[in-house]
């Protein structure tokens, strides 16, 4: 259950549309079921009332859409941002990827989003309704008249279990109360991988990445991946966006991507959310974040606009490569 109700968001958006502050609203559009929401642009109060959704399935991070959706827009675009989305928002501004003047950002508190796969693991297939407005999530299936009641905490999306912040780091207006940065356990899983032997770790990733179908969903959803032309789309690179030629190539894709977003990744978790094969891709990025924290001091990408990331900011106090090497098995 979210603190702010759908009706409040619609009311807010409608008033901003009606008084001319914004010309369009980027929100979550109603799907076929209660859980399959699609990012959508709303232009009128009627459209909002008919199709705007705010529930426990509004996981999509809208920050990246701002790059394209504000490009030729007349006036301002209203965007609703969850706390984690605001970090990507700032990071994209740091990289000059969209025009801040064209956006009206409203911060929305978030209690964490639900993972439909986890819900189905409890309720089974055949969902006819999911109600997330109560204390418990009520899931009705075509197989049973009585709904299955599920504790939201049991079906939280992975990235929400390890939520790093309930605080919005960017907005024009905030709905509800501001939250805090959370001292999360998000690096525990990385530490577990670090504790493995090199062979074990290699086997772990080989097994996970062997499921990769090279659909590029991780890259295409990633707010840090906003290159106009990705190397993996360049036919001359020999690694353009196709299925991997061999297992080496599928590792190459993810490792290169992780390197490319290192220091810029805000740990929003979109990569793992969208992966059709449930590969824990965020762990690659989190490893970089953990390393950067340990080598250069705590740094959170997107916390502020214009911050210089440690990897692009040479100082004489920087850690020596030799010391990094010595720590490799720590």
């Amino acid at each position: 259950m979210q603190k702010i109700m759908r009706e409040q968001l619609i009311e807010k958006a409608a008033s901003l549309l009606n008084n001319g502050t914004v010309t369009a609203v980027l929100g979550w559009g109603k799907g076929e079921f209660d859980y399959d929401v699609t990012p959508a642009v709303f232009k009128t109060e009627e459209e909002l009332k008919a199709g705007f959704v705010w529930n426990d399935f509004c996981g999509a991070n809208f920050s990246k859409y701002l790059v394209k959706k504000t490009d030729r827009l007349e006036g301002k675009l209203l965007v609703f941002l969850k706390p984690c989305d605001t970090y990507s928002f700032n990071q994209l501004l740091t990289e000059h990827r969209f025009d801040r003047e064209k956006v009206y950002a409203i911060g929305v508190p978030c209690n964490g989003m639900a993972d439909i796969a986890k819900i189905k693991a409890v309720s089974g297939e055949g969902i006819s309704a999911v109600d997330t407005n109560g204390e418990k999530i009520a899931v009705t299936t075509i197989y049973d008249d009585a709904p299955v009641m599920i504790d939201p905490a049991d079906v939280l999306a992975e990235r929400c279990i390890n939520c790093k912040s309930k605080k919005h780091v960017a907005y024009d207006e905030l709905l509800g109360e501001e939250g805090d940065v959370i001292d999360s356990a998000r690096f525990d899983e990385v530490a577990r991988l670090e504790a493995m032997s090199a062979d074990e770790r290699f086997a772990f990733w080989q097994n996970e990445l062997s499921r990769c179908i090279r659909c590029n969903a991780c890259r295409d959803a990633c707010p840090a991946c906003t290159c106009e032309k990705c190397v993996f789309d360049n036919p001359a690179s020999g690694v353009e966006n196709k299925s991997p030629a061999n297992s080496f190539e599928e590792q190459l894709f993810h490792v290169i991507r992780a390197y490319h977003v290192a220091g810029r990744c805000t740990d929003c978790g979109e990569c793992s959310r969208v992966c059709p094969q449930n590969i824990p891709l965020h762990l690659l990025n989190r490893k970089f974040i953990k390393d950067i924290n340990e080598f250069y001091g705590e740094y959170q990408a997107g916390e502020t606009v214009g911050s210089r990331a440690p990897l692009v900011n040479y100082t004489t106090e920087d850690i020596e490569p030799g010391e990094v090497f010595d720590r490799r098995d720590k």
Partner: protein, 342 residues
Amino acid sequence: MRKCSLNAVNEVFAEIAKAAKLYLPVDQADGSAAFKEWENGVTWSSALNTVKSPKDLFFPQTEDLMAFKTEGKSIEVIDTRREVEDFVVFGVRACDVKSFEILDRVFIKEPVDSYYASKREKGVIVALACTKPSETCFCTAFGICAEEPCGDVSAWKTEDALYFRANTEKGEALMKRLEALTEECGEDAVNAQKEKTAQIMKKLPLAKLDTGAFGGGKTEQLFNAPEWDELSSACLGCGTCTFVCPTCQCYDIKDFNTGNGVIRYRCWDSCMYSEFTKMAHGNNRLTQKERFRQRFMHKLVYYPENNDGLFSCVGCGRCLAKCPISMNIVKVMKKLGGKDSE
């Protein structure tokens, strides 16, 4: 019709695996299922369906086509095709079985694609009837009978037994091998299950999805529909829908320099990708809207136009479950098909 006890299912698998490679859905660590080769100790998944469809076993995501040796100005072409060995794919759902008819019409049409055709010749499909379909299922819209799948052998799983009916010569041969492990039986249990499933199919939320607005000859009405803008607006341009789709069959051919010759291989490709139609001097589909439209027009209009009205979608629901932004063929059909489709 023949049956065996569910307790004996591993003996059946072992018997099949003696003479042919056996692939069946297996649960993976992440909770999803995938077709894997059976060996002693592997457990058959009870999942409704796999993430990747079994088309992978006939039209693999990556497949070597040939090799070349080059030296100076000369080239040697090496036919690397090998005799395909017999294999059995067990537990294929009705939707996925139908997908092979759709793929056959592309690959086993002159000039025959030998890579696909030889696997179709050797592969035996044991289809499994559905009993607990998902809300994302809409195979009925395409005339598919989930409770009575085709394939070389049709199978039904009840509480305690597995029932088989051979439909083809290949299927008969397989059942012959299983004669000692199965017994002749009546059809009552299977008929009861079919009846029950048929009732469930009617209750599915997408049971009434109507294809009436689509089919060959509908290009003019649909191609310039204004709805494509909104439908494609959030599309990320990734290939998830394409790669989990049992009927998508576009491919790319690429050369891989091994340092000791060249391997020419093919791999799945996606019309959703920006480079799909890119030529040296231009690209005839520059926007994601055009690429998005191509995928659905092909499934719902172009393919049926060339194939006696057969749609290139089997309603398996994989794209509904896996699209990162939850845009899919059902939403496209409902939006473009007007009120009639709802």
